[in-house]
């Protein structure tokens, strides 16, 4: 969708390797979020950011780290990928606290 881009769209990686997913926005929104989606679990919040260099943990942050060095980019890193991190990862943006989220198209990650 216009305004938010996730890359890559698909990735296959091996257990134990580091992986970085990128979320890029052109809306100048303050808030950015990373969610993972798995059958039966809905969308679970991994980490979120409320400004440049301001991040906080979500519900399932173990094994993940994030960085936001500029407003438009929010990176999600799997430090050492495991098969349990096979999932669809969605980035979302919003202009303010409690504002509606606008989601990217997702990244399908497979860890073999």
């Amino acid at each position: 969708d216009a305004g938010i881009t996730q890359s890559p769209r698909h990735k296959v990686t091996e257990t134990g390797t580091p992986v970085t997913l990128r979320c890029h926005q052109t809306e100048n929104h303050r808030y950015m979020y990373w969610y993972r989606q798995d059958p039966g679990h809905g969308l679970r919040l991994i980490h979120y950011s409320y400004g440049v260099k301001d991040t906080d943990k979500g519900e399932v942050s173990d094994g993940y780290s994030v960085s936001r060095s500029k407003t438009e980019d929010f990176l999600l890193t799997l430090e050492s990928a495991t098969s349990s991190q096979t999932s669809v990862y969605f980035c979302a943006i919003s202009p303010g606290k409690n504002s509606p989220l606008h989601f990217g198209n997702g990244t399908r990650l497979t860890v073999t």
Partner: protein, 111 residues
């Protein structure tokens, strides 16, 4: 804890029948949002409820926020095949920036 429970997990209906999904939090929410995700797509925002007892309508969709701001529902009247998808509620609380999603209700509509 800050979590949102959503039921049912699945609902299969005949076209023309009504559909309802429910969300519940054990603690008072500051607001609740509803999203729809079509198969293979990403969640799309539908509506936000903020006030106690609030009711909002979008064509055949009716959204309610409970008086205690702990529960919410989405009701679809006379479902159509275009309503197929997964409906999520998402809650936020006054002491956090987090938006926590329910597990979703997957709606299947048979013509």
């Amino acid at each position: 804890g800050q979590q949102v429970m959503q039921i049912p997990q699945y609902q299969h209906v005949q076209e023309g029948e009504d559909f309802t999904t429910y969300c519940n939090s054990s603690t008072t929410l500051s607001n609740i949002q509803w999203y729809k995700q079509r198969p293979g797509g990403h969640p799309v925002f539908l509506i936000q409820l903020v006030k106690s007892g609030e009711v909002k309508k979008q064509k055949r969709l009716t959204f309610q926020f409970g008086e205690a701001k702990k529960n919410s529902s989405l009701h679809i009247t006379a479902t159509q095949t275009t309503d197929v998808g997964t409906y999520f509620c998402a809650g936020s609380w006054s002491n956090t920036d987090k938006l926590i999603f329910g597990t979703g209700t997957r709606l299947q509509v048979f013509p």
